[in-house]
């Protein structure tokens, strides 16, 4: 009698193929999700080339240490610490140093109060 006949949606073969495909999809998606996949991958070689440009230029410079730059020595002797080379002088502190975060508003007020003393 037809009432006892098993009515299956899939055959055994279809079920095995289908579940195999699902498993493969899950694994591949998982790999991309885990390790990332950037559809727009750009060459980064240019960074190393520009860096090499700067290092080559450094090697070609006659003077390679900041404290030997004659104009640096001159600006300290003439202006920042008259008569000597003494970094973090009072004038250097005023012109070349700054403050951060919540100390800034007080610093701005100070600067406005002494606007034209700098030169």
């Amino acid at each position: 009698m037809s009432i006892f006949k098993e009515k299956s949606v899939f055959t055994r073969r279809q079920f095995l193929i289908g579940s195999g495909m699902l498993a493969a999809t899950a694994v591949i998606t998982g790999i991309f999700a885990k390790f990332g996949f950037d559809a727009y991958a750009v060459s980064q070689d240019y960074i190393a080339k520009r860096a090499a440009g700067l290092y080559n230029l450094d090697e070609k410079m006659a003077i390679r240490k900041s404290h030997e730059n004659p104009e640096i020595l001159q600006i300290y002797k003439d202006f920042l610490s008259p008569g000597e080379v003494s970094p973090v002088s009072e004038k250097a502190h005023h012109l070349l140093h700054t403050k951060y975060g919540r100390e800034i508003p007080a610093m701005i007020e100070e600067l406005h109060a002494h606007r034209h003393d700098a030169a």
């Binding site: 950037d38 559809a39 727009y40 991958a41 750009v42 060459s43 980064q44 070689d45 240019y46 960074i47 190393a48 080339k49 520009r50 860096a51 090499a52 440009g53 700067l54 290092y55 080559n56 230029l57 450094d58 090697e59 070609k60 410079m61 003077i63 390679r64 240490k65 900041s66 404290h67 030997e68 730059n69 004659p70 104009e71 640096i72 600006i75 300290y76 003439d78 202006f79 970094p87 973090v88 250097a92 005023h94 012109l95 070349l96 140093h97 700054t98 403050k99 951060y100 975060g101 919540r102 800034i104 610093m107 701005i108 600067l111 406005h112 606007r115 034209h116 003393d117 700098a118 030169a119």
Partner: protein, 389 residues
Amino acid sequence: MSTATLTDTEIIKITNKCKACDHCTSVCPTGAAKGLLGQKHYIDYKTCINCGQCLINCPFGAITDSSTVDQVNQALKDPGKTVIVQEAPAVRVALGEEFGLPIGTNVKGKMHAALRKLGFDKVYDTEFAADLTIMEEGTELIHRVFKMAGVAGFEDRGPLPQFTSCCPAWIKYAEDKYPAVLPHLSSAKSPQQMFGAIAKTYAAKKQGVNPADMVSVSVMPCTAKKYESERPEMIASGFKDVDYVITTRELASMIKDAGIDFANLPDEEADKLIGSSTGAATIFGVTGGVMEAALRTAYEVLSGESLDKVEFKAVRGMQPVREATVEIPVKDLGITLPVNVCIVTGTKYVDKVVEDVIAGRSNYHFIEVMNCPGGCINGGGQPIRHEMY
């Protein structure tokens, strides 16, 4: 006093060309580039540090930065103004790319010549200010080390480790996210702002120019430098220290618009007074460069000896976080001090280093931070390269 010259302080903008591809959200170091997949993206200006990494990496060229090129051109035409210009180290190895020269070609001399042709009255060099930064920041580091060693007279100095303060994107990131680390930041300004303060005081006096008639322009590989020049405290000279900042790309477009044959220009030197520089200043543009320049000076000042070999290769490289130890003999204290240094390139990688410092777990003395991967040479104002693999 209003000092703003940009029309607004929102420097990086995403235009309607946005295809919502999500690439900017993957390169943004702070997660400020936002948007759902398929919807036009936007920038959260509370956390944006203006680095421009999204701009140079956008596959559709949909991101732009605010420009002051028109104001610079106007100042150049005004006979009553003395317009001076400074150029950052990283500009000279990238500007040539816009004119078909190979990547990394040094066009320092042609760049100076082109700026003179554009009509700048004095062509100086940010590298001079980079040397000045090393003098100030290096001395500050030495003082902090003296404080740690218990030398009398240095009790009021800041704590160790000392962070570099040249990168305006890193500064804004530290101010926004880690206020507790601010005492560790070097109080030295960046070379750009040091140059601005010196130009309108020392240089103006030596040239006999009224600083009110001086327009100070800066060519930078960086979009965050535009923000830095607008910071309200950058008025140490009594005027706005740096009036306009243009990027490497904008300078290239100005040179093209003026019809200058860039590739065939002769090499010219920068103007004297605040235009000479050293190799130490040149390497400021690459990650590890500020560290290496500071070590060259700190070693010689502390030891009293002259270095035979000026390169500190241990601090070079392209890894996001690098560390090294340099043995420096300290003449005044009669000891050899192992100085632990750390170099971070990419703000994405700085959090752990900063959190260790705040928690007191860090044994570094000096930490260099640059926001852009590779340093300023890969800054948000540099020529855009889109060679796909």
